[in-house]
């Protein structure tokens, strides 16, 4: 392209009157190697423009995060509800029957029967322990026998000594 045209274009460019095509022409001219020496100082400008166009956004955008936070919110709500139920349930169950008169006749009878049965069981256990006393007696006799036997060993020791002499 003729130098004259470029100068005209530059003038238009500085007055912001150029179209996009004309600006593209300018960019192409200044990207080439044969730039007129008196226009040399425009070169870095257009170089800078085309360089800046290359720059890219490389960071990832976490689009999913919003959903996760929502889920966490609901989990915390659920946790609070569970806690409140934990306090509520024991306080509800406090008004249970507590005295003997509160139970029906049938329940009272059942209670007495089980009490009797347990008493029988325990008396049988006691009988069992009393029969164990006999065994205790037998063990005492054994101990006596062992003491006697120790006399015998003592006797044998003294006879051995006598034999040595």
């Amino acid at each position: 392209m003729a130098l004259n045209d470029i100068e005209k274009l530059l003038e238009k460019y500085n007055n912001a009157e150029t179209s996009q095509q004309e600006e593209a022409q300018l960019k192409a001219y200044f990207a080439s190697d044969n730039v007129a020496s008196h226009l040399e100082h425009y070169k870095p400008l257009f170089q800078y423009f085309s360089q800046s166009q290359q720059e890219q956004f490389t960071k990832d955008v976490p689009l999913k995060t919003k959903k996760n936070t929502k889920l966490y919110q609901w989990i915390s709500v659920a946790a609070v509800i569970v806690l409140m139920l934990g306090f509520l349930i024991p306080s509800l169950s406090q008004d249970q029957k507590t005295t003997w008169a509160d139970y029906s006749e049938e329940e009272q009878q059942m209670y007495l029967e089980t009490k009797q049965a347990l008493a029988m069981l325990s008396s049988n256990f006691n009988e069992g322990t009393s029969s164990l006393n006999a065994l205790e007696l037998a063990s005492e006799n054994f101990n006596e026998g062992l003491e006697r036997a120790s006399f015998v060993t003592e006797f044998s020791e003294t006879t051995n000594k006598l034999l040595k002499n």
């Binding site: 500085n14 007055n15 912001a16 425009y42 070169k43 870095p44 170089q47 800046s52 890219q56 956004f57």
Partner: protein, 169 residues
């Protein structure tokens, strides 16, 4: 709208959102956070997306507003100014090294422009939107956009010519 649909909708302009955010906030981290925030906002309002007639223009407006808010906020006072992001370009290595300083200089000049002009330069010269779209995004009329753009371009030209002539870095 499912996630895949959303991604295909957002894909074409997420880089533009990021670049505009970076133009305004300078720091790459800040710009990344801002872009993320914008995309999340869109995702949260995905039910309403059908009502917007131009999602891209809407997102760019949102980005502009969000970044200007960030700049005004107290947090922005701790904003890091980091510009070390010019390593990646397609020109040959030697050319790159040669041009690097002057290209760096261009970005500094743009950084010094008022916010409004910065945004317009970004939208016109880098993202190549037409004037009508820019006017709509910024809620201005086309003439005002042209005037601002012309001012910005002339400022840049002046400063560039000065550095070129005096060799001042």
């Amino acid at each position: 709208m499912k996630q895949a649909d959303f991604v295909t909708l957002v894909m074409p302009f997420k880089d533009k959102v990021y670049r505009l955010a970076k133009r305004l906030l300078v720091s790459r981290e800040e710009a990344e956070d801002a872009t993320q925030e914008i995309l999340l906002k869109l995702w949260r309002n995905k039910k309403k997306i059908g009502d917007y007639n131009n999602v891209e223009a809407f997102s760019m407006t949102m980005t502009k507003n969000f970044c200007l808010d960030r700049l005004k906020s107290k947090q922005a006072q701790n904003l890091k100014i980091v510009h070390s992001n010019y390593t990646d370009n397609s020109s040959s290595l030697q050319k790159q090294v040669e041009a690097r300083d002057s290209v760096d200089w261009v970005s500094k000049i743009i950084e010094d422009l008022p916010e409004q002009q910065k945004i317009i330069i970004q939208l016109r010269d880098i993202e190549e939107y037409d004037y009508a779209e820019i006017a709509k995004m910024l809620d201005m009329n086309e003439t005002a956009v042209r005037v601002n753009l012309s001012r910005a371009r002339k400022t840049i030209r002046e400063k560039l010519t000065n550095t070129h002539q005096y060799g001042i870095k």
